[in-house]
Each structure stands twice: as C-alpha cells, then as structure tokens.
Assembly symmetry: C2
Homo-oligomer: 201 residues x 2
C-alpha cells in the first residue's frame, strides 16, 4: 500500500485553550479518511533553543510542514476582525504558489460585505460602491472573504464551505472540517470516502 497523502491542518485552532486535543481530533478524522494530518507546530516548542527566537523556530517548522504536505485544509472562520486568521491566510498563499490542492471551511455563513456591515457603518457611494467607516471600499462578490482567498478555492472547483455553528462552537465544531475531508477524499483518492459521517450531529 502506498503511503498516505499528508494534509496540513491550517487554522486559528492553535490558539484554542485545548489546541493540542483539537489537533489530535483533527488528525484522527484525517486517518479515518485515509490521510495523515500535519498539525502546525505552535504548541510543541518548549525548553532551550540555544538562543534562536521561538517565533522563528515555529515559522520554520510550519514552513517545512507546508512543503511536506500534499494538500491543505484551512479553517477560515473570521478571527479578531472581518477576515480569516492572518497566519492561516499567509499559509494559504504559500499553498497557492506551490500549486497544491486546498480545501476550506468557515463557521460563518455570511459573505464579507454582510459581515463588515455588522461591524460598523457601511454605505454606498455615488458610484454604487460600498464603503466602510474609513471610506475603504468593501468587495461585494458574495464571497466568504477577500476575493484573493475565495478565488483560490473556486479555481480548484470547490468553494469555501460555509457551515454555520452555534456561537460557542465557532472554533471547535469540526463538521466543516469533515466536509472538507470528504471533498478531499473524493478528489484525491482512487477509492470512495467512507460512507457515513464520522461526527455525530
């Protein structure tokens, strides 16, 4: 049997209080679908580093995992603002440049314009362009996030999966993640994915 495809598990999950256990759950789900999950390095650093900055060690370890991965699954749930977590988006750009398959999900069902409207005053200028409280234009393509982000997924034939969750499960619900795994199995594996969903609703 060939070795399993490796999937990089990008997302703000690494900032959760139970980051390590959610990483373990994600890896278990990956194995269920026939993949090997690579979780970012952020929580594995400890001890002495001979003077090298910890942030640079994490960066180098994550970049190495991104190069090692065959594809990526991205948690694009908005994080401290109207867009996805910056570290996650940075990694998505790396995958795009490396031309590796990507799958994405978000716990927010809204498009970008709707979300920005909820965070402040957004009005139309005389040209019909939506503008926020700073006068900056707001895209209105019905995308989940900035067009550069949604477009990567659209170009690969599978738009970002929007799976609304309860507010308190916004960063812990794994249904959107599992839907990505199903898509990945369908696209990347010769055999069909397992029949039932692993996560009980």
């Amino acid at each position: 049997m060939a070795s399993r495809l490796k999937v990089y598990l990008a997302g703000p999950d690494v900032f959760l209080p139970d980051a390590v256990s959610i990483g373990r759950r994600k890896k278990e789900l990956c194995a269920h679908y026939g993949f090997e999950g690579l979780y970012p390095f952020d929580n594995e650093i400890s001890g002495d580093h001979l003077g090298t900055r910890v942030d640079l060690l994490i960066y180098r370890a994550n970049v190495a995992k991104i190069h090692e991965a065959d594809f990526g699954i991205f948690n694009l749930t908005p994080f401290r603002g109207s867009s996805a977590d910056a570290g996650t988006v940075f990694e998505l750009g790396m995958f795009a440049a490396l031309a590796k398959p990507v799958f994405g999900y978000t716990s927010d069902a809204d498009d970008l314009l709707s979300r920005v409207k909820q965070s402040g005053s957004v009005t139309r200028d005389p040209m019909g362009q939506w503008r926020d409280w700073m006068g900056m234009s707001v895209e209105n393509f019905q995308n989940a996030d900035n067009l550069m982000i949604e477009a990567v997924f659209l170009e690969q034939g599978h738009p970002i999966i929007r799976h609304a969750t309860a507010a308190d499960a916004r960063f812990t619900d794994l249904m959107g993640f599992e839907l990505c795994l199903r898509e990945a199995a369908k696209d990347l594996l010769a055999h069909h994915p397992p029949g039932g969903m692993r996560i009980a609703r």
Copy 2:
C-alpha cells in the same frame, strides 16, 4: 542598461477612494529608486468579460503580476481587525513560497498583543499565556502581526518597518513605503539609492 527590477505593490491601498492616484504615486516613487512598480489589478476591470466572474479575473491578473515581480513591498497596516489586510497577507504567502525578496511597513507602531488589548479584554491565564475575550491565545513576541507574517521579513534580515502616522493618514502616508524602497535599493541594486528622501516631511 539592464531592465529595471519589478516590484509588486501589495496593500489595502486598492480599497481607498483615491486608489488609482495612490497607485500612481507609488509607481513614481518606485521609478525614483530605479524600480518598476506593479500595482494590483483591482481597479482596472471594466466592460464586458464574456461571462467570467470579475473576482476571478482580478485574482488571475494579480497572481500573474506576482509571478512577474522580482520582489514585493507590503503595506501591513492593520485593516478591519487586529491584523493586516487578508488579500495582502495572502500575497505575502505567495512571495514567501516563491522565495522572492519582500519588504514591509505598517502605520501602526504597536505590536500585536498591545493592539489586541486595545480591542477587548485580554488577560493572563494561570500558565502566563495571554488570552483574548474568546479564550484564544495572543502571541507575545513583540511582533507587528502574527508570527508567520513578521518572520518572513526577519528571515530576510529586514523586519517590518513600523512608521506611526497621523490617524487620518493611516492608509495614505507613504513614508513607510519609501523607507522600504530605500532598503530594497540598498539590498537589490548595485549602486546606492538616491541621497535625499523623496517625500517631504
């Protein structure tokens, strides 16, 4: 004379009401330092596109410019949240994966932790880890943004330039941009950059 190095001009500048004129000013500054500026495509689309989605056209045009560019200058001023504009960060990830030189600036002098503290309740947990109002950890590396973003610049030997501006010039002041151009000229050109700063203070 050899053709000039091309620099991709990433940033939320494309969302400004005067996006086109600020693009022109940036290109003029690039020429002054011996470079050719490539401004993102966002504001150049008009007319009929034979059914192709405008967002995908913009994405493809920007990706083509990123591949064409020899290096990039990134406006990382926080945008609608605690981090830089998502489209800009995505493009930074592309440059990192393509191993092209990058230079970055922000109009915000604060580090990420200070900025998150200003936007909501941030407390230390019993382990000493800073946590925001959602319980998500906040990095404390004194970086301008998420570690993945600052690290790209650190690895290349020139950290993100933090140049505080007046509040109303946050997205229009070009001093940080010009400081990046000076660094780029010093690093990438055989001759010295022009003596005086182009932008009058």
